[in-house]
């Protein structure tokens, strides 16, 4: 026996305070459901597989001081030295550092001189060691060979005849087809796809086209260069200082900075991490405030109705009847708030999707948030409801 009718009658007579709590719950649902969506989206983004052995990769960036620096010779000597170090799996050069937020992109088409269509992709100039150095998985085709390497002057524009691409880019440019052996263009010269790697996020994990990546077998001899050094598991931190010392020892005419790929990734995701923390805190605080409001209102109503509860007990209500009465009353308020909030959350989400490119709110996360809010609401009402159940039936005969 849930006493819906008398509870609804009572709520109708206290509609202002009941409605305020319902609106508070509704607003909480609007904020929490859309916040949860943003948090989930950010967390999914951060949890995407990068395709790399991130925890075991060191990055080296150096700036050569002499203007006539022999970059090609230095790269060759450095990499030979690095690859020979105990604990190093492999090392490669690259004109950009993955996940660092700094890199290059270009448009790639399937037809020569194509003016529209194609896909924009992040690209690397690197060497045949990049697959092993990054821990990438070559799913089809082959790696570059040393003979395919091009050494380019700082301003030289020369197309590579062969490229390796990510599967994401291959699938976008050649949907339903095998991209291996097919040419890509950035102008009129074909670049044959000789290999496809499973995945790689590229330089900008936040980018909407992250995962569109092209690798060229090339070295451009500018004043600055990056090395990516993959170590054996657990050796990264030990090699961190050694790498800097060895490189400085081999050639002191440069400024060297060693870092970990994990640090670059953490820096790239710093905003997402912060947003997840801030939004989670806001959501938890909102839940807490709502719970306080419900505890306050339920306690107030119980204090107001102490005599009435005593009368109900005198008329035969058990303790369970009394606590259930208040829990049902609270559930009805919560259900009203959740119904209003669900509708408002969906409307608010349409606005967020349209103007802020946020993900679409589906019924599952909305339902989860509604359930959590209902449970928070019931949890908050539980203690006052149990307290109400302990009001003595003898209260009914007290004159004050």
């Amino acid at each position: 026996m849930f006493e819906f009718k008398p509870i609804l009658s009572t709520l109708w007579h206290h509609k202002a305070s009941a409605l305020l709590i319902a609106l508070q719950l509704a607003l909480t649902l609007v904020i929490v459901s859309n916040t949860l969506l943003i948090i989930t989206d950010r967390m999914e983004k951060m949890a995407r597989p990068s395709g790399m052995d991130i925890e075991n990769i060191l990055t080296v960036n150096f700036l050569a001081i002499p203007q006539d620096y022999d970059m090609a010779g230095a790269v060759r000597a450095d990499l030979d030295m690095l690859r020979a170090l105990p604990g190093v799996v492999d090392a490669t050069h690259s004109h950009q550092i993955p996940l660092s937020g700094s890199g290059s992109a270009n448009a790639f088409q399937t037809q020569p001189n194509q003016e529209t269509g194609g896909e924009v992709a992040n690209y690397y100039r690197t060497d045949p060691h990049f697959i092993e150095s990054l821990g990438l998985a070559l799913v089809t085709g082959r790696n570059f060979t040393e003979t395919e390497m091009q050494v380019l002057a700082p301003n030289e524009q020369r197309q590579a005849p062969v490229i390796i691409v990510t599967r994401q880019l291959a699938d976008k440019l050649f949907p339903g087809e095998d991209a291996l052996g097919k040419p890509l263009y950035n102008g009129d010269s074909p670049m044959e796809i000789i290999g496809i790697v499973e995945r790689h996020l590229g330089a900008w994990p936040e980018w909407s086209k992250a995962g569109n990546v092209v690798f060229f077998p090339a070295l451009r001899t500018t004043q600055s260069m990056n090395y990516l050094v993959r170590t054996e598991s657990g050796e990264r931190d030990a090699l961190f200082k050694l790498l800097a010392d060895k490189l400085a020892e081999r050639d002191s005419e440069r400024v060297i900075e060693v870092n970990t790929l994990s640090n670059h990734m953490a820096r790239s995701y710093a905003v997402d991490n912060m947003m997840v923390k801030v939004l989670s805190t806001v959501g938890a605080m909102l839940g807490f405030i709502v719970a306080l409001g419900i505890v306050g209102l339920t306690s107030f109503w119980i204090n107001q109705r102490t005599k009435q509860i005593g009368v109900r007990r005198a008329l035969g209500a058990t303790r369970t009847n009394i606590s259930r009465y208040f829990l049902v009353e609270n559930s009805l308020i919560a259900a009203t708030g959740i119904a209003l909030g669900a509708a408002a959350a969906l409307i608010a989400n349409q606005y967020l999707v349209r103007d802020y490119s946020q993900p679409v709110l589906t019924l599952l996360p909305l339902g989860i948030c509604a359930l959590v809010i209902l449970l928070v609401s019931l949890g908050a009402a539980l203690a006052p409801a149990l307290r109400a159940a302990n009001i003595s039936p003898a209260t009914a005969t007290r004159s004050v």
Binding site: E3, K307, V311, G316, N321, S392
Partner: protein, 233 residues
């Protein structure tokens, strides 16, 4: 109907123990209309609470309708209150947010009657107290006498064996008090046992028997007529 033997009720604080009732024994027979009087603080309300199973006694035996109810748990006491006892309070104790129909419905819902049965009973008692036309009104829209009649209707709807009235006319003027008393007498004539706590000696005299409580003990159990004779002599 109601039999109390050596009932004791004491309240204890850290330093002192107060006896609200002690060696309290009495018997009320089925169909009786008994008034309970006594000065303030004599233990009338404590007696009413124990008789109505609103609180347990500290000691002693209480038989209600032949059943020992001294050691029942809270749930059992609630069920027994609901099934066998009707309450009429001085302040009416109607629930202000519920209309008269729903007020009478409260104990019937706890009894577990279905909606049809509840409606039938509510309509019957509303007619008995002459307020059928006001079923959808709120208590605040009624006079004090009408509110007490609704409280009586609520007490009667479950067809209790035993009616406990706590100063039922205490908040009413003399005309309304007379109407309420007539209604209680009428109810008693149907066979319902009534125990009425009152300060009013005129009302007490209208009962078949008066029990006087002084200092937590029964001090006079004579029928009302004998008590009146003694006063006259």
């Amino acid at each position: 109907m109601l039999k109390m033997h050596n009932i004791r009720k004491s309240f204890r604080t850290d330093t002192i123990e107060t006896h609200a009732l002690r060696d309290f024994s009495l018997e009320v027979k089925e169909g009786e209309f008994v008034s309970v009087t006594g000065p303030s603080g004599s233990g009338k309300t404590t007696f009413l609470n124990i008789a109505g199973l609103l609180e347990p006694s500290t000691d002693g035996q209480y038989l209600l309708d032949g059943e020992d109810v001294s050691n029942l748990n809270d749930r059992q006491r609630s069920h027994l209150r609901n099934e066998k006892i009707g309450f009429i309070f001085q302040g009416f104790n109607l629930i202000p947010d519920l209309n008269l129909f729903d007020n009478i419905d409260v104990p019937l819902r706890y009894r577990g009657f279905n909606a049809k049965e509840r409606r039938k009973r509510i309509e019957k008692v509303l007619e008995q107290v002459g307020l059928s036309a006001r079923a959808r009104h709120l208590p605040a829209q009624l006079s004090g006498g009408q509110q007490q009649r609704i409280a009586i209707a609520r007490a009667l709807a479950g067809e209790p064996r035993f009616l406990l009235a706590d100063e039922p006319t205490g908040n009413l003027d003399s005309l309304m008090a007379r109407q309420v008393m007539e209604l209680l007498e009428f109810v008693n004539e149907w066979g319902t046992t009534i125990v009425m706590v009152t300060h009013d000696p005129d009302l007490a005299r209208r009962a078949q028997r008066n029990i006087q409580i002084v200092d937590g003990q029964v001090c006079d159990l004579r029928p009302v007529t004998e008590q009146s004779d003694a006063v006259s002599a």
